[in-house]
Amino acid sequence: MKRRVVITGTGYFSAIGNNISDVIDNIKNDNINESSISLERDVKVRVVDAFNVKDFTGRDKKVKYLNRGAQFGVAAALKAFVNSGIDKNIEKAGLITSFGPNLDIGGEINSVSNGTISKKDLNALWLLRFLPNTATSVIASRTGFHGENSTVSTACASSLNAIGEAFRKIKDGYLDVALTGGGDSRVSYGGLLAYEMAGALSKSNIHRPFDHERDGFISGEGGAFLMLEELSHAQKRSANIFAEVKGFSLSLDNTSLTAPDPTGIYAERSMRNALSEANITPSSVDLISSHGTGTNLNDDVEADLIKRVYGEQSKAISIKSWSGHLSTACGALETSLSIDFMRSSFIPKIRGLKNPISDINFNLKNTDESIETVALQNFGFGGQNCALIIKKWNE
């Protein structure tokens, strides 16, 4: 019999809140935790309020080796772990995480001159703050998981990619349980300078995905983890089941190192393959959680894609228009929030969208509406496309 994969726990941190009631309140009241960092201009950023990783880990000597993004990941993983009620020491329990590069060069290293790095304030093992898999090891030490694992790195597709890999590991019988997700923060001088020089940040400091006036995104930070579990394993322990993962697919553009393929044909392939694995038609998808970065290139290609695959009537949102862009962690946050939106029968509007570039059904007002099936998609630098289909648990 085919193994089915369900979601039995989530935990997240974002600039619009760390639980669903705060998130919905903040969306309804248009309340986002925004501040700014000064490059050559003031750059708006969306930050997580009053976050202290030790509130979640307690005292732990390993925490000093976690950069800020990794801290969000570890805290989110521990929240999802507790939320799921899973026991430690399950034999086939694994960790499929996603973490990106630490770009907070200036915050990590006291000074660099003529190629020499000042050792002042560096830990002996400062390299751990730059290795993407450090957080995975810390999560393992806290959850007691010993099974298959990996730290996925496919740019902004990373954490959706990780969830999909975890789904497959369970579906194919390599794992019974997988904790999956990521954490990231580019809210630092180095992170923002990188995006600014790449021309990705909004010059007007307004994030308005799919709008004619759009000019880039606002950087966010945070993390999200989900507990994925084989259905009968979850049922045996009477777990609280939130949703089912139905389909997943990946593809590569093989064109630019940053821009998406203008035709979107490979991204389209990943979306269609995910639908076919889910064994559903495009019309049975109630909501599309778009990548929705608000960059000129992404939104043009993506609006076309949504229209081609799902048609004009399909409803689309951009969670990034609220949370800011969480880079590698965006997919895990968007999946976790989509689950909570399904459970709360709430669909957020696309913030800032006034003059849509396409006649597809972008959600322009916050609505209370029942949703059963969500399609998520993320497209990363390097032409890495990822699509995931989830369905609310009603059985």
Binding site: R59, D60, K61, V63, K64, N123, A124, L125
Partner: protein, 121 residues
């Protein structure tokens, strides 16, 4: 701050434990759960705070058992060989360690203090 207090401060930071949990007689590994990665951090901080390069092999007695074996192989007095290798330890303390070694790792906080006091300029 005296040497013991400075050491406690550094160890509490590296191991992320309360300073009050650390005493002169505490075993660094057996009781405080320090491991080799922590020794790297401690040696780096000791060097910075006390102003000389702390050799982590020596301060953490990494070769203690090898020296014991070496003395045995060559028919030498174990205590005097260890005292020669670890000049900062008294002969009395080495005897104490030798009688204790079967129960686990022997380094105590007071041994780190001895090392720092011995080599500090």
């Amino acid at each position: 701050m005296n040497v013991l207090e400075e050491i406690k401060e550094i160890i509490s930071e590296v191991l992320d434990i309360e300073k009050g949990e650390i005493a002169e007689e505490s075993y660094l590994i057996r009781e405080l759960d320090a491991e080799s990665v922590d020794f790297l951090e401690m040696a780096l901080s000791f060097s910075e705070v006390f102003g000389f390069e702390v050799q982590d092999d020596f301060i953490f007695l990494r070769n203690f058992q090898e020296y014991m074996a070496e003395a045995e192989e060559n028919g030498l007095n174990i205590n005097s060989l260890l005292c020669k290798k670890y000049e900062f330890l008294s002969s009395y303390r080495v005897d104490e360690m030798l009688s204790d070694i079967k129960s686990g790792n022997i380094i105590k906080i007071k041994d780190l203090v001895s090392y720092i006091n011995f080599y500090k300029k």
